[in-house]
């Protein structure tokens, strides 16, 4: 979604198609291309962007400011205040004191690593097979994959737990990670990415004598790095943020992932929103780091492939 939008934005200025309508064919618009907006439109666009930005990150900012608020400050006010009057890092210290955050984060990292690797490798292989290889029952496989997407996770969670338990993986991090190791949606994303590549590329490689693995590695993968980054980020966020599944699988507190472990900050009779917010912020940092590391690929459009549009 993201990659596609940015991709067209880049392609845009290169193609000067002409004015939008007869009415605007003037000297003024003569220098502007199809997707070059008028100043008024620019203002409007930015206003909408800023609005969307605020709506999106507003709750996040509120959490951030809550986590920095001192004990004598009101958390809930009629008009939300984003600037703490007495900023303090005390809440972070208290969150670290109350629960072994680093240990929990380590567990989450293990789970996330398995899930990201599984999805990037597995979804790429499966996506390529479904998009480019011809084999008996390919459509059936695709249909079956689509059908599993229809089942809501809540409906299968207990059956899934019973399976994991019978595999002897209850209360292990592997048990937490495995069911999410290949996401069907990711397979579909990769399939779409591979399918978008011109068939001629593949055919040329076949003529050159490349086998399926070589075509995947030398022709397919270099052109879908952007989508692979998307899959990696989605998988990471999914694994990192998941709460219910690790809660059900894990029993020993030492093995808890961060989202489950942070629940200790809000007990039955004690619930300081400032400390809870601090815990949330701590859990959020690795997602930012991961995204920052991958964003180079994330924003790489399909147009950087072998055949330019």
């Amino acid at each position: 979604m993201m990659a596609g939008r940015v991709g067209t934005a880049r392609v845009g200025p290169r193609r000067v198609v002409g004015a939008r309508s007869a009415g605007t064919v003037t000297a003024r618009s003569g220098t502007r291309g199809f997707s070059t907006p008028s100043p008024r439109e620019v203002v409007l666009r930015y206003a909408l962007l800023v609005l969307a930005l605020f709506v999106t990150i507003g709750p996040f900012l509120w959490q951030l400011s809550t986590s920095l608020k001192g004990a004598s400050e009101d958390v809930y006010t009629t008009t939300p205040s984003f600037l703490p009057a007495e900023p303090t890092l005390d809440n972070y210290a208290r969150a670290f004191e109350a629960v072994p955050i680093l240990g929990f984060a380590g567990n989450s990292l293990v789970v996330a690593a398995i899930v990201v690797t599984g999805n990037v490798v597995g979804a790429t292989l499966a996506g390529y097979a479904l998009a480019r290889l011809r084999f008996r029952g390919a459509r059936l496989v695709l249909g079956a994959l689509l059908l599993t997407l229809l089942l809501p996770g809540e409906a299968t969670i207990v059956a899934q737990y019973l399976t994991i338990r019978q595999l002897g993986l209850a209360d292990t991090l592997a048990g937490v990670a495995l069911p999410g190791a290949i996401g069907m949606l990711n397979v579909l994303l990769m399939r779409t990415a591979f399918a978008a590549l011109p068939k001629e590329l593949d055919e040329a490689a076949i003529v050159d004598g490349a086998n399926a693995w070589q075509r995947l590695w030398h022709v397919g993968v270099p052109n879908v790095l952007g989508m692979m980054a998307v899959v990696a980020i989605f998988a990471f966020i999914g694994a990192w943020d998941d709460f219910l599944w690790p809660l059900i699988v894990l029993t020993t507190p030492e093995k808890f992932t961060l989202t489950v472990g942070l629940e200790y900050l809000s007990g039955t009779f004690t619930n300081n929103p400032r400390v809870v917010a601090a815990g949330t912020m701590i859990a959020f940092v690795p997602i930012v780091v991961f995204f920052a590391a991958l964003q180079r690929y994330f924003f790489r459009g399909v147009d950087e492939g072998a055949i330019k549009g």
């Binding site: 004990a71 004598s72 400050e73 009101d74 958390v75 809930y76 006010t77 009629t78 109350a98 629960v99 969670i157 207990v158 059956a159 737990y161 019973l162 338990r165 019978q166 209850a170 709460f243 219910l244 809660l247 059900i248 029993t251 507190p253 489950v260 629940e263 200790y264 809000s266 007990g267 039955t268 009779f269 004690t270 619930n271 300081n272 929103p273």
Partner: protein, 430 residues
């Protein structure tokens, strides 16, 4: 507390379906309660598991102390303590139940226990302990007895109740006397009008629910628990009162929509001058918004005081029932409960011998202490207002119908009739 209660209702719906599913994979899930009860009189020794709900890390010392005392009193026993996080508890218990690995002793509120008891997963504690009636207060025991099921499915643990909290600053500003807050629905509406006219602020902060009917002494569920009967003319009158108050602008618009955050949230934000809450409400609220310090006054609940019960249930699948029952009784005995109540202001023991504990009955003069005194004083007459049979889906129906009635879209009687019909359909399907 509220979100957890909703979670429980979800569990009630999901358990039978999932157990049916889990039953294929597992042998002998359910149905073993008779054998288990039989050898519950065995020797108290060996290993058992105790599961609590979100007591770590604040009450780690207390729980570990209780366990140490138990192990000392019964040499040879070994207790493994599991504490589950607050969120997702219903799902966790559900998964445990489906996998046949319910801990020997588990902290379950009555509505959670009902869905497990229906599947035969909980031991009838009355069959093991004949002194229940002497040990625990009747209201608490009743919470673990269900229409259509024979037995008592948990040892009552701690009790909580609700009382009223008023924003004294907003009262004074509106020319009302914070020392004489409303004691009836009529007074509430009258004072809300005064406040609205004087300062434009809101006093009333929520729409009524089934609990409010029960608080006025109206029937909600038939005696045998098979059908809802809250479509009485008296109930319609209560809805009419709210409808008129809403039309007059005495309630915030939010209360009828999904944007409603709950009366305690509105109270904390200073948007309304009234909230209901447990004995610990002042401490929590002041921690969130310190500017409310000294501005909160408690008073007894309007109408019948509600009772909220927590208890510990024993799994009917327990491999060591004698020790499990002994542990459950030990955790809920008077001495342990009184100590717990001292550590958590606002919760009270469910043991009969604790009901005249002078320490719990006295106030230290602070609003917080006063709240504790009022709560403890009303506890003897408090009862469970909302039937445990009410599920999440039913609450949604009731909320929608009541909202329609209060907004004036249909008459109160129509709304009640529809709600009763729909809820009865859901109840029949359970």
């Amino acid at each position: 507390m509220n979100s957890r209660r909703i979670g429980a209702a979800g569990l009630a719906l999901a358990v039978p379906a999932v157990l049916a599913l889990g039953g294929c994979a597992l042998n002998g899930t359910g149905g073993g309660s008779d054998d288990a009860a039989a050898d519950a009189s065995g020797e108290v020794t060996g290993e058992v598991t105790l599961q609590t709900w979100a007591l770590k890390p604040t009450f780690t010392d207390y729980v570990e102390g209780v366990i140490a005392d138990f192990e000392e009193q019964y040499p040879g026993t070994e207790v493994t303590w599991l504490d589950q996080p607050g969120d997702g508890y219903s799902e966790k218990v559900l998964a445990q139940a489906a996998a046949g690995e319910l801990p020997d002793v588990t902290n379950l509120p009555p509505d959670f226990a009902l869905s497990l008891a229906r599947e035969g997963l909980l031991a009838d504690v009355a069959a093991v302990d004949e002194t229940l009636e002497d040990t625990y207060v009747p209201g608490a025991l009743d919470a673990y007895r269900y229409g259509g099921l024979d037995g008592t499915f948990g040892y009552p643990w701690y009790l909580t109740t609700d009382l009223n909290y008023w924003n004294t600053a907003m009262f004074t500003e509106a020319g009302l006397d914070p020392a004489a807050p409303p004691t009836t629905l009529e007074e509430l509406v009258a004072q809300a009008r005064t406040m609205k006219e004087a300062t434009g602020e809101y006093l009333m902060s929520r729409k009524p629910g089934l609990g409010d009917f029960a608080a006025e002494g109206l029937p909600v569920l038939s005696e045998d628990g098979t059908e809802f009967v809250f479509d009485t003319p008296e109930a319609a009158e209560i809805l009419d009162v709210y409808r008129d108050a809403y039309a007059e602008g005495l309630l915030p618009d939010d209360v009828l929509t999904d944007a409603y955050l709950g009366n305690s949230q509105l109270f904390t934000e200073g948007k309304v001058a009234w909230s209901t809450g447990g004995g610990n409400f002042i401490a929590t609220t002041v921690e969130n918004n310190p500017s409310l310090e000294g501005k909160i006054a408690p008073s007894p609940y309007i109408g019948q005081t509600p009772l909220y019960v927590q208890g510990v249930s024993v799994s009917s699948q327990s491999a060591n029932p004698a020790t499990a029952h002994a542990l459950a009784r030990f955790v809920t005995d008077a001495a342990q409960q009184e100590e717990f109540a001292r550590q958590v202001p606002g919760i009270f023991p469910s043991t009969t011998s604790s009901q005249d504990d002078p320490e719990l009955a006295e106030s230290d003069g602070t609003p917080q202490g006063e709240a504790k005194r009022i709560a403890f004083g009303t506890l003897t007459t408090a009862r469970v207002l909302q039937p445990v049979e009410v599920t999440d889906a039913m609450t949604t129906i009731v909320n929608q119908q009541f909202a329609a009635a209060i907004a004036g879209d249909k008459t109160s009687q129509e709304a009640l009739d529809t709600a009763v019909d729909e809820c009865n359909k859901l109840l029949a399907d359970q």
